[in-house]
């Protein structure tokens, strides 16, 4: 009955002696092509180029720009956005978005301050509690996203409002003044201290930001967990089928993001001296960090991009803002030009990538 079983494969005789040769093609070797290829392989270099171009342009336009003070000021101005950007990058890599980053940062800083001054808790403990609270808020986001399967945008839109409102209600809009903190709880201002090599002031906060970026870059590239974050953002269903605990990864990502925001909150105290519930970061931190992330080349659809790119993105925005303000006069025009330059920066990025494809 099985007369036809073997015949079908008969034509496969042709396979005998099949070549296993791999195609070899001539490679392009001109310098330009090599540069293009390198850019293609190292996407985070693209924002770097935009950055360098921006720095040079502003240096030519404004004589004060190239002073070490200016550059160190830019670094300290982006410290907070940079740390929030780390949190945002993690979330965006999983194809999510976190609108609550700024709110978590501000509320955490308020909690640290109020714990110390309202309840008399020692500052280091208050800081620990504040960090825990930030992580808990992040966890809530993650739980809603991963377990209840709500869209991240809406979850964090909700928690943004909730946390910000809680922040005002809890603090009764009271600012804790810088001189009081310096006197009674200097630990809160730790990240505001600085070293001054060659007379250039560099805040501890700047070192912290750089360290966080480096650590995250390592984790994302060189550990299994980092790969899972990318996989979840790339195609969550495929990741799940391939054996990634997507929900756990998501919850971890949001919790870690919350923790980073709380760290940013602590840094805010150091940088601003005081603890203020109405800090603009609460309202604008999300947009600023998302801008850094997107200019840095991380895809809002998840799974693509690098944290180092985000760092350059934050720097680009910082340089543009400072440069424009130094060159220009009217804040309204500055605002206008920053809008233009955001678009331009990304357009240049896109153009370079296309050229190298």
């Amino acid at each position: 009955m099985s007369s036809d079983t073997k015949t079908a494969a008969s034509y496969e005789e042709g396979l005998q002696g099949a070549s296993d040769k791999v195609a070899e093609f001539q490679e392009q070797k001109t310098a330009l092509k090599r540069l293009q290829q390198w850019l293609h392989m190292t996407p985070s270099a693209v924002p770097m180029i935009v950055l360098v171009a921006a720095v040079i342009t502003f240096g030519l336009l404004s004589p004060n720009f190239f002073k070490a003070v200016t550059l160190s000021t830019i670094l300290q101005q982006i410290a907070i956005v940079g740390i929030l950007g780390c949190a945002q990058s993690l979330v965006v890599l999983t194809a999510g978005i976190d609108l609550s980053v700024g709110a978590i940062a501000v509320f955490s800083s308020v909690l640290m301050g109020q714990f110390t001054f309202r309840y008399g808790i020692p500052a280091p403990l208050a800081i620990a509690l504040g960090l825990t609270a930030g992580a808990a808020m992040g966890f809530a986001n993650g739980w809603l996203v991963a377990r209840i399967k709500l869209p991240p945008f809406i979850v964090t839109l909700g928690t943004w409002q909730i946390i910000l409102a809680a922040n005002y209600i809890y603090s009764a809009n009271e600012t804790i003044r810088s001189s009081e903190i310096a006197q009674h709880a200097p630990a809160l201002q730790f990240w505001g201290y600085s070293i001054q090599p060659f007379g250039v002031k560099i805040l501890y906060a700047v070192f912290l930001m750089v360290a966080l970026v480096a650590a995250l870059a390592y984790v994302l590239r060189h550990t299994a967990w980092g790969r899972h974050v990318y996989a979840v953002g790339d195609d969550p269903e495929a990741a799940e089928l391939a054996g990634v605990r997507t929900r756990r990864v998501l919850i971890q990502v949001y919790t870690l993001a919350g923790l980073f925001c709380a760290v940013a909150g602590w840094v805010m105290i150091g940088r601003f001296g005081s603890v203020s519930p109405s800090a603009s970061t609460g309202q604008l931190g999300n947009i600023q960090s998302i801008t850094a992330v997107v200019i840095g080349g991380i895809s809002l659809f998840g799974g693509r991009g690098s944290i180092v790119g985000m760092f350059f993105g934050a720097l680009i925005v910082g340089v543009f803002e400072m440069g424009l303000k130094m060159v220009g006069t009217d804040p309204q025009w500055t605002f206008f030009l920053i809008g233009l330059l955001i678009i331009l920066a990304v357009a240049v990025d896109q153009w370079i990538r296309k050229a190298s494809a």
């Binding site: 009955m1 099985s2 007369s3 036809d4 079983t5 073997k6 079908a8 494969a9 034509y11 496969e12 042709g14 396979l15 099949a18 296993d20 040769k21 791999v22 195609a23 390592y218 060189h222 550990t223 299994a224 967990w225 790969r227 899972h228 990318y230 996989a231 790339d234 195609d235 269903e237 495929a238 990741a239 799940e240 089928l241 391939a242 054996g243 990634v244 605990r245 799974g303 693509r304």
Partner: protein, 260 residues
């Protein structure tokens, strides 16, 4: 038949809205066998193996593995029981590299402090392993092991997925149309690989529309029709025409076959 089935399902039901993909479906896999599952498009073959591998949760019915009832909450769950599956959609992360995809969820870490404390991945080892497995499958046309999945041709992707399952399956390997997009040479390698895996004592479930392949390698053939098992036949007892006739409803199998 004296042996107990290794993997067994009884009365599986799965509904998608108004569509019923599995309708009181039964299933048995014997130890060490190659079981082919054949059926029309949309008969519910993929749904069946998704239920067996934890990718979907059936609305009703029981699954037993080695005689013990199991419930797989996720593919990872099934995998920890030694069931490895190549899905029809392949389940790969397009932006990640071949090695990353092959080791997803079971990455190798560097030995020593770097691995233990800093949890650093052992990329060279992973890449070496991935390259070996692909070479076994004859996928030499992959020019660069660090290519991302999205830059591979359809057939190359499938080859990577098959290599992954074959390399890691410990109790059951399930392949949903593994050769659909593969060339003649590559298909042949997959069939050889299937035999290899069986010779390691691991049973295989093979879904395929390629009758010659099925009749060549299968020990038993599960014929699926309209969401349920119609019958199970031995390739030696029936011709391909019979099998095709059964699965398309042109002929109705005798009682004997159904019991096989």
């Amino acid at each position: 038949m004296t042996q107990e089935p290794l993997l067994k399902a009884h009365g599986l039901v799965k509904r998608y809205g108004r569509v019923t993909a599995l309708d009181q479906c039964d299933f048995d896999l014997m130890p060490g066998e190659i079981l082919a599952v054949i059926g029309d498009n949309g008969a519910g073959k993929s749904s069946l193996i998704k239920a067996l591998s934890g990718a979907i949760q059936p609305d009703d019915g029981q699954i037993t593995l080695e005689g013990r009832p199991v419930r797989f909450a996720s593919p990872l769950d099934a995998r920890s029981h030694g069931i490895e599956c190549v899905y029809q959609t392949l389940a790969m992360s397009p932006a990640l590299s071949i090695a990353d995809n092959m080791f997803m969820g079971r990455e190798l870490r560097k030995p020593g402090i770097m691995g233990k404390w800093f949890r650093k991945l052992d990329r060279p080892a992973m890449e070496k392993f991935a390259r070996e497995k692909l070479t076994e499958l004859g996928l030499m046309t992959i020019q660069n092991i660090n290519q991302t999945i999205e830059t591979l041709s359809g057939g190359q992707r499938q080859g990577v997925a098959v290599a992954r399952a074959a390399a890691f399956g410990s109790k059951v390997v399930i392949l949903d149309e593994p050769t659909a997009a593969l060339g003649v040479k590559e298909s042949r390698r997959v069939l050889e690989l299937i035999r290899d895996v069986r010779s390691r004592g691991i049973p295989i479930i093979l879904i395929s529309h390629n009758m010659p392949h099925v009749f060549e390698v299968a020990d038993r053939i599960h014929i699926h029709r309209l969401g349920r098992r119609l019958c199970v036949i031995k390739p030696d007892d029936y011709s391909m025409s019979d099998a095709v006739a059964f699965m398309t409803g042109a002929k109705v199998p005798e009682e004997a076959a159904t019991a096989a």
